[in-house]
Structure formats: structure tokens, C-alpha cells
């Protein structure tokens, strides 16, 4: 048995099993058409709509960016790429409905460009205005954060900023673009799941999604029941982690080696 199961992975497998079981429960629950999961309101979501309105009033474009390296498709951060695409669809639909110009600053991972282009077009289609989709408003700046930050800030300076929505995988590229957007009197709304960069968003944005809030917000803006129950499944995972924390505390109080126990 011990040779088949990789040592130190039992706890990870257990967490995965709990999440899979919760997923099964909620996916079954979704078969009931009257079941409507609810999540609390997040102020930054309301701010996005206000930002699009502000852009229209000031006759400036809405800018959307998912990070210089926000198009990662085969890394551990791929879930943030999917969140960014959900927001892209939302902001495209919103801009199409309200008649605002949307500029999308694409990440340097060129392999994700078809997804970005397709998602933007889907947003315009959802609003019933596919003819308003303009490919030249999807901007690509080549490889690297250096060219990306220069391209984005140049666009801000030349075309103005009403709303700057920044959601996705951000490294040290975000402070420069957030600063430029603020300098151009734009409204900064954004967030990332990368904890190390959350500080930058918390201090530099007018409205921020703190860490995992981007996942919850993506579910809210999609208004899709499947996405919404995803957050409830995550809550089950959180309670399981709380349970492990309590259990670990109790066991360590009675003198057991909790680290060895949880590293089985």
C-alpha cells in the first residue's frame, strides 16, 4: 500500500476528495431549477458599472487588463486566467450594452490570444451587438512585462482612461499601469489572487477585490448557477480546513506530533 500511494499526499488527496464530494452534491442540487445560490454583494462589482458610466460621461475608453503574464494556460495560476476571461466577457457585454469603447490590453502569452478574442466577441454577442466588436481594440505588445507596461501606459496617455479594470495574474507590472491610470484621472478597479501583489491593489485601487474575492466576483458577474455553486463548494473546503486547524490544535495540546500526522 505504502509503495503505491506517494508519501505525504494523503491530506492533499483528502482535501481533493472533500471538494469532489461537495461538487457532486451541489451539481446534483443544480438539477432542481428552483434552486438559486446567493452570494453577498461585493462593492467593487458595482464600481465597475459606475466606471463604465464615468467613461461614457467623460468620453474616454474603458481599459481592461489581465496582467502582462495573465494568459498562463498551463501553470498553477490557470484558474486566474479563467477568472480574468469571465470578467472580460462581463466588461465586454457591459461596454456593448452601454455604448462605451473597450480597449483590451492582452498579456504576452500569445497562445491565449484566441481565447481572449473569442471571449470579447462573445460579450458583444451576448449584448446583441457583435458589429461593435473591433479587433484593433485588442492590443498586443509582444513578449515581456517591459513592452507591456510601456504599451499600456502609452495607450492610457494617448487615449485617456475612464475606467481601468485590472483583474488576473499580476507581478511587478501592476503598480506602473495603476499609477498611470490614476494620473490620467481614471477609476482603478482590480484584484489578483496572487497574495504577494494584493498589497499593491489594496493601496493603489479605488475599489479592490482582495485575493480570493476575484473568484467570488467572477461567479457573481457571470450570474451562472454553476459558477455560483463553485463558491459554495469552496466554502465546504474552507470549513474542512477549519476542522483540520481545530483538530491539529487539540492534538498538539495533548502532545501528539501533528506535523508528522498531517504529512502522512
Amino acid at each position: 500500500m505504502s509503495s503505491v500511494i506517494v508519501p505525504g499526499t494523503i491530506l492533499s488527496a483528502l482535501v481533493l476528495l472533500v471538494i469532489a464530494a461537495a461538487s457532486y452534491y451541489y451539481f446534483e442540487k443544480l438539477k432542481d431549477p428552483t434552486y438559486q445560490p446567493k452570494l453577498r454583494d461585493i462593492p467593487a462589482i458595482t464600481a465597475i458599472k459606475e466606471g463604465v458610466g464615468k467613461s461614457l460621461e467623460e468620453n474616454k475608453p474603458v481599459h481592461y487588463q489581465m496582467g502582462a503574464s495573465g494568459g498562463q494556460l498551463y501553470s498553477t495560476l490557470v484558474s486566474m486566467t479563467l477568472v480574468a476571461l469571465t470578467f472580460l466577457r462581463y466588461i465586454s457585454r457591459l461596454c456593448a450594452e452601454m455604448g462605451a469603447k473597450l480597449i483590451v490590453h492582452m498579456p504576452y502569452q500569445a497562445e491565449s490570444i484566441p481565447l481572449i478574442e473569442g471571449t470579447t466577441l462573445e460579450g458583444y454577442r451576448e449584448a446583441g451587438k457583435p458589429e461593435d466588436f473591433k479587433r484593433e481594440n485588442l492590443r498586443y505588445y509582444g513578449r515581456g512585462a517591459l513592452t507591456w507596461t510601456q504599451g499600456v501606459t502609452a495607450s492610457f496617455a494617448q487615449e485617456g482612461v475612464g475606467l481601468n479594470l485590472a483583474i488576473g495574474i499580476f507581478y511587478s507590472d501592476c503598480p506602473i499601469s495603476l499609477e498611470m491610470a490614476k494620473y490620467m484621472n481614471g477609476l482603478n478597479v482590480g484584484g489578483t489572487g496572487r497574495w504577494i501583489m494584493v498589497y499593491a491593489f489594496a493601496m493603489m485601487c479605488d475599489y479592490v477585490f482582495l485575493g480570493e474575492e476575484i473568484y467570488a466576483a467572477a461567479a457573481v458577474v457571470s450570474q451562472d448557477r454553476m459558477m455560483l455553486v463553485g463558491m459554495l463548494i469552496e466554502e465546504v473546503g474552507k470549513f474542512f480546513v477549519f476542522l483540520l486547524l481545530g483538530l491539529g490544535l487539540l492534538l498538539s495540546l495533548v502532545g501528539m506530533d501533528v506535523v508528522a500526522l498531517f504529512n502522512m
Binding site: I5, T9, T76, V83, I176, W195, A202, S222, I233, V241
Partner: protein
């Protein structure tokens, strides 16, 4: 191709691939490790090929569109320079004996390419370091607590403050090791759980972020 097939086939490919890549993390069977290694290699190959091809196409499109928006000499020089750079990269690597190890390529790489890169990089990080001070907004409890914590932590590393305010050293350490670690662990666990849910949903074929309208 019907919409069902257009959705079903990619979903099946993703689900089976994900399960095969995930399994060796938990199960120790050599055949599974080999399959995981092959799939990982192919992921990189497919991504690199599509990335390079699409990158070149989109870069050309972006340079053209940029010139159309702003038809001046600077834009033209920028566009031409990009292709001269690529031509130098490929031309020297392919035509010189020794390829990328040839003296000509090495000279171009170390004297021209690296220096230009380092200069622009330095410029970006100088801007970055100062942009936080120019843009910081203390408009929420989160932002204020981050700013105060960061300030104390930074000040306690400066010798002058260590001499004048010795109490700052243990306070800075405490901020770093207690609230910082506690908060970040909680945030990382929550974000990782949310990412896991995305993964499970993708394997299950229930991921709908990228569904089509028509």
C-alpha cells in the same frame, strides 16, 4: 461540426489529460509517471509553437494598427526596429558558425541586447519603486493597515531608526511573523481552494467560463 461535438471533444481531452497528469501526484506507478512526463512535454511544445506563431502574427498586426493610429516617423522606426532585432537574432544564430555560441552572436547578445534590456528594465523598476508612493490611497481599513504595517517593517530595517526607536525592531518582527504570516496563509489557502474548485469543475466537464453564446 455540431455544438455538442465542439464542446464534448475538447472537454473529454481536457478531463482525461488532467486526470492523467494529476494521478502521479498521489499514485506511485512508473507507467503513470511516464505518461505525465510525455503529456507535460507536449503541453510545452504545443504552447510554444502556437505562442511563437500567434505572437508573430499579432505583433505584426499590433505594429500595423499602431502605425495606422499614429502615422509618424517614430512609429515607423519602432516597427522597423522590431523586425531588425528579430532578423539579427535569427540571422546571426543561423548564419554564423557555432550558432548562438559564435563570437558575432555573443557580441550582439552581450553588448547590444543585454544592455538595452537592462536599461529599460532599470527604467521600469525605478518607475515602479516610486509609483507606489505617488498612487497610494488610504481609502480603506485594509489599505491603511497594510501601509502602517509596511512602514513599521521598513523603518525597523534602517539603522537610524534602530538606534532612536529600538522598540521598532521587535514590533516589525512581530508584524512580519504573526499577522503577516497568519493573514497570508489564510488568504493563500482560500485562493488555493477556489483554484481547486476550478480544477475539479474542469475535470468534471462543468467549467462554463468559456462557453459560447452561438
Amino acid at each position: 461540426m455540431s455544438a455538442t461535438w465542439r464542446t464534448l471533444v475538447p472537454t473529454l481531452i481536457v478531463s482525461i489529460t488532467a486526470l492523467l497528469v494529476l494521478a502521479p501526484f498521489f499514485i506511485n506507478i512508473p507507467a503513470l509517471n511516464s505518461v505525465q512526463s510525455i503529456l507535460n512535454s507536449w503541453t510545452v511544445i504545443i504552447s510554444a509553437v502556437t505562442g511563437c506563431a500567434l505572437g508573430l502574427v499579432y505583433m505584426t498586426h499590433a505594429i500595423y494598427a499602431s502605425y495606422q493610429r499614429n502615422k509618424d516617423m517614430e512609429q515607423l522606426v519602432m516597427g522597423v526596429t522590431t523586425y531588425v532585432f528579430i532578423a539579427l537574432h535569427l540571422g546571426l544564430a543561423l548564419t554564423q558558425s557555432g550558432g548562438v555560441n559564435s563570437p558575432a552572436y555573443q557580441w550582439w547578445y552581450t553588448v547590444v541586447y543585454q544592455n538595452v534590456g537592462a536599461t529599460v528594465y532599470a527604467f521600469m523598476f525605478f518607475t515602479l519603486a516610486s509609483s507606489a508612493y505617488r498612487t497610494m490611497i488610504l481609502n480603506s481599513v485594509e489599505a491603511t493597515s497594510l501601509a502602517v504595517g509596511g512602514l513599521i517593517y521598513t523603518l525597523r530595517q534602517i539603522p537610524l531608526f534602530q538606534t532612536w526607536f529600538p522598540w521598532m525592531v521587535p514590533l516589525g518582527e512581530w508584524i512580519l511573523l504573526v499577522p503577516n504570516v497568519g493573514g497570508s496563509r489564510g488568504a493563500v489557502i482560500a485562493a488555493a481552494l477556489a483554484a481547486t474548485v476550478y480544477g475539479v469543475r474542469t475535470i468534471w466537464g462543468k467549467e462554463i467560463s468559456l462557453r459560447e453564446v452561438s
